[in-house]
């Protein structure tokens, strides 16, 4: 046995590059760097050789040439003479639209199912477990296709609404469910600002008023808290809050002259109102119920993570069940629920790329689908596509990090 553990200084041999802890990590990193450089160089030389062989080059000029195809659902002006870049922007907006809609509804489904899974009612509990298992264990692509099939094969054609005794009728005379999409009433302003093109100013006004109401209600509840701290009696704020939420916005909408454009049969198809295409609905609904099942599990786990002692302690303090939920259980449960919830939102955004399976014109279908096939610029298109999704996920991760830091348990 020897008690000497450190090798003597200056005793360098070639084998100590691998066996001596002083040099080993450097050796390994140099090896890794060389291997990495060789691999990348090899791939790059292959790429260049292949491109040269096929007479191709890397260029992003195609983005500014006319796209030459139509998109049926667009949020901004677009026609087949617009550039490929504009088609990609249309795709980006469509991706964000369906991701936003699906995030909202998936949260609603997930929270309801998650809370009901903890219900005291055996039947409801089992039903919700069934929902969660069914949707988590079947691929989302199959769900998208199933719902798209319902939209196209089961819904009646617009012609079924025609005639004296139509076989289908509109729901409340407001909504029309057809195999070409769902038609819903569309709002417009008769006394709005900016005429035809500037109607977004009006919507900005409405949103501004709603944000102002939000701040006003927060001020009201802050004052109520103050008063409660001073006098021990909390003033009733419910009716005041209700008024702050609804009165200004209703007055504004009335002043702008809000009218509804009701869809109606015109010729062979419905006209008026807003048309929500079948692919959008299929994607939206499928993503919502599929992700809702995952969110339900997160919600259930979050609520179960709050220990019973917390509820009991709150009850012992004399809080009523509703306030126990609002003040004690939910804040702690949300700390557990929100991080996986945000990563589910990220999953929704990434899964929305399955739009291409049902022909919804999101970024994958425009830039990665038609533009790629028409221009043959595979490398450029796929790189731009990946870049877009990377930016989105980095943004969502950043939001998550900010939230986690704000919500971290502050321990001494």
């Amino acid at each position: 046995m020897t008690s000497l553990t450190d090798p003597q200084r200056g005793s360098f041999r070639l084998s100590s590059l691998l066996n001596d802890t002083r040099y080993r990590s450097m050796t390994l990193q140099v090896i890794a760097a060389v291997v990495l450089a060789l691999t990348l160089g090899y791939l790059y030389s292959n790429l260049m050789a292949n491109l040269q062989e096929q007479g191709l080059d890397i260029s992003f000029d195609f983005l500014y040439s006319p796209a030459g195809y139509d998109i049926n659902q667009t949020l901004i002006d677009y026609n087949s003479q617009s550039t490929n870049l504009r088609a990609a922007v249309v795709g980006v907006l469509n991706t964000l639209l369906v991701a936003f809609l699906a995030c909202v509804t998936a949260t609603v489904f997930g929270v309801i199912a998650g809370v009901l899974r903890l219900s005291k009612n055996w039947l409801v509990r089992k039903l919700m477990a069934f929902y969660v298992e069914i949707f988590r264990n079947i691929p989302v692509l199959i769900w998208i296709i199933i719902i798209f099939t319902i939209m196209t094969a089961v819904m009646p054609a617009p012609s079924a609404f025609r005639g004296d005794t139509p076989s289908s009728s509109m729901l409340f005379d407001l909504f029309a469910f057809t195999n070409r999409g769902v038609y819903v009433p569309g709002p417009y302003f008769t006394r709005g600002f900016g005429g035809e093109d500037g109607s977004w100013i009006n919507w900005l006004l409405v949103i501004g008023v709603l944000v102002a109401s939000l701040f006003a209600t927060r001020a009201v509840s802050a004052r109520a808290n103050d008063k409660q701290a001073k006098t021990g009696v909390r003033p009733k704020t419910f009716w005041l809050n209700l008024a702050i939420w609804f009165v200004p916005v209703i007055v504004l909408l009335f002043a702008l002259g809000l009218q509804w454009d009701i869809p109606e049969l015109r010729g062979f198809n419905f006209g008026g109102g807003i048309k929500i295409g079948g692919p959008l609905i299929a994607l939206w609904f499928a993503l919502s119920i599929y992700t809702g099942a995952f969110i339900a599990e997160n919600v259930r786990a979050g609520i179960q993570a709050v220990s019973r002692g917390q509820t009991e302690a709150a009850s012992a303090l004399g809080l009523r069940p509703r306030r126990v939920m609002n003040l004690v259980v939910l804040p702690q449960a949300l700390r557990v629920i929100i991080p996986p919830l945000i990563s589910q939102y990220l999953n929704i955004t990434k899964n929305s790329s399955l739009a291409i399976a049902v022909g919804y014109a999101d970024i994958t279908a425009t830039l990665g689908g038609i533009t790629l096939n028409q221009t043959g610029r595979a490398i450029e298109c796929v790189l731009l596509l990946m870049l877009f999704y990377l930016v989105i996920s980095l943004c969502i991760s950043a939001v998550m990090n900010v939230y986690n830091n704000a919500m971290k348990l502050k321990e001494r």
Partner: protein, 434 residues
């Protein structure tokens, strides 16, 4: 004190009354129903609503399923048999059964080969999944990948044998050298394996010519399809991505900045993009990165991309497991004088992997579901077969629900089975005493 005692009252009971069963309202199904179904008015309302929902679903689907037709050969014929009734035409499943499972190009007389590979898969997976089985079965697990390759793709037997030989020689060289240091053993093994493959690759054509009896009819990758393709992609990519995922997770925890950053960038990049864009890469872009004229087939390119995808996710799960281990475990390993590979192999990884099992299974289930995405890059997996050749054929144009329901059922059975197994394993591995 009381005045009443045994001497001054007429009757005192000296034995306890026999126990009486609880009242009807407090036992059995009555009590259970009251507590679990009708506890409050709201609860009762929910129960009624739930029963109504169940009734609606069953009333809609049961007659449709039970009245299904199984024996016709086209939709028109099936509609004739149904005679206006609304019921399922399951005959599409019996008629196109082989296509659904094997795709439409795999030679029918060779169906026994993938079937045999499928059955043997259970034998190979058994010792990995259930620890009570004799360890000698692991020997078969080791040769299974090469056997399955030979069975499914066919060709000369020498290709899988040379591949296997490379691994065996590499392992023996590693064993021989590992006492010097792990790195020497590892790199020595890799070099030995590469040498065997190089020499073997040169010898295969001659060997194949000499022993022409030892070959199966070759089937090209593009002829694979149906549910078989989903299974193959799922099993191959999960098993390949486990070791890569472990390596990435360890790399991400490494103290060497270069290695750490390579792993971080790889993982975050892969996790940031949807699988479908990676499949686009496999479909249209990856071929540019291989040497000109090498013609790597689509199946292999898809396997490469899906493996990269799942290994990034598995790496994150394992990183969670590594982070969950108490620091004392690392320190204990150090204090025993173990070096890094020994500490990882003997102390850290067994515990970290155990913690990560539920997460890994979740990834595996998710990955298996995601194999349906290959239908978008026009590979004919189960979904691709349904949407392509079967629904487009004149015989079965319009049979949506039977086919989609069948696909959903197959995936449900496999995924639900896997998640049940993982729960069993978690209970089995729970060594903490609660």
């Amino acid at each position: 004190m009381s005045d009443t005692h045994a001497e001054s009252v007429a009757f005192v009971r000296e034995t306890a009354l026999p126990p009486v069963p609880p009242p009807v309202a407090e036992r059995g199904i009555y009590k259970w129903g009251r507590e679990n179904l009708f506890a409050t008015p709201l609860n009762a309302l929910l129960t009624v609503a739930a029963i109504y929902v169940i009734y609606l679903v069953l009333a809609g689907t049961l007659p449709w399923i039970l009245g299904g037709v199984w024996t016709t050969s086209s939709l028109a014929e099936c509609r004739e048999v149904l005679d206006g009734r609304s019921a399922a035409c399951f005959s599409v499943l019996t008629d196109r059964w082989n296509q659904l499972l094997f795709g439409f190009k795999y030679p029918p007389e060779l169906y026994w080969r993938p079937l045999l590979a499928f059955v043997l898969m259970f034998l190979a997976a058994a010792p990995v999944l259930f620890f009570d089985l004799p360890r000698k079965l692991l020997f078969f697990t080791g040769i299974y990948p090469f056997l399955a390759y030979w069975l499914i793709w066919g060709g000369t037997i020498w290709t899988p044998i040379v591949a296997l030989l490379g691994f065996v020689v590499g392992y023996f060289v590693y064993e021989k050298l590992v006492h010097r240091s792990f790195a020497t053993g590892f790199f020595g093994g890799v070099i030995a394996a590469l040498a065997v493959w190089y020499v073997g690759g040169l010898a295969i054509p001659d060997l194949a010519r000499i022993t022409s009896g030892l070959r199966l009819e070759a089937v090209p990758s593009r002829d694979l399809g149906g549910f078989m393709l989903n299974m193959m992609l799922g099993v191959t990519c999960v098993s390949l991505s486990l070791p890569i995922g472990i390596a990435l997770a360890l790399g991400r925890q490494s103290s060497m900045p270069l290695i750490k950053w390579i792993c971080v960038i790889f993982i975050e990049f892969i996790r940031g993009v949807p699988l479908i864009t990676l499949l686009f890469v496999a479909n249209v872009m990856l071929a540019y990165f291989f040497p000109p004229g090498s013609g790597v087939d689509l199946f292999l390119r898809v396997v490469i991309m899906i493996t990269m995808f799942s290994s990034a996710y598995i790496a994150e799960v394992i990183r969670g497991g590594l982070a969950a281990l108490p620091k004392g475990q690392y320190e204990a390993a150090d204090s025993l004088g173990l070096d890094y590979p020994q500490a990882m192999r003997l102390i850290i990884l067994p515990q970290a992997l155990k913690i990560s099992i539920p997460g890994i299974v979740n990834i595996a289930v998710g990955l298996f579901k995601d194999t349906t995405l290959v239908s978008i890059i026009s590979m004919f997996d189960l979904v691709g077969m349904i949407r392509g050749p079967i629904l487009a054929s004149t015989d079965w144009n319009g049979v949506y629900w039977e086919l989609l329901g069948f696909a959903a059922l197959l995936f449900f059975i496999v995924c639900y089975g896997i998640s049940q197994y993982s729960q069993w394993l978690e209970r089995r591995l729970a060594t903490d005493h609660r």
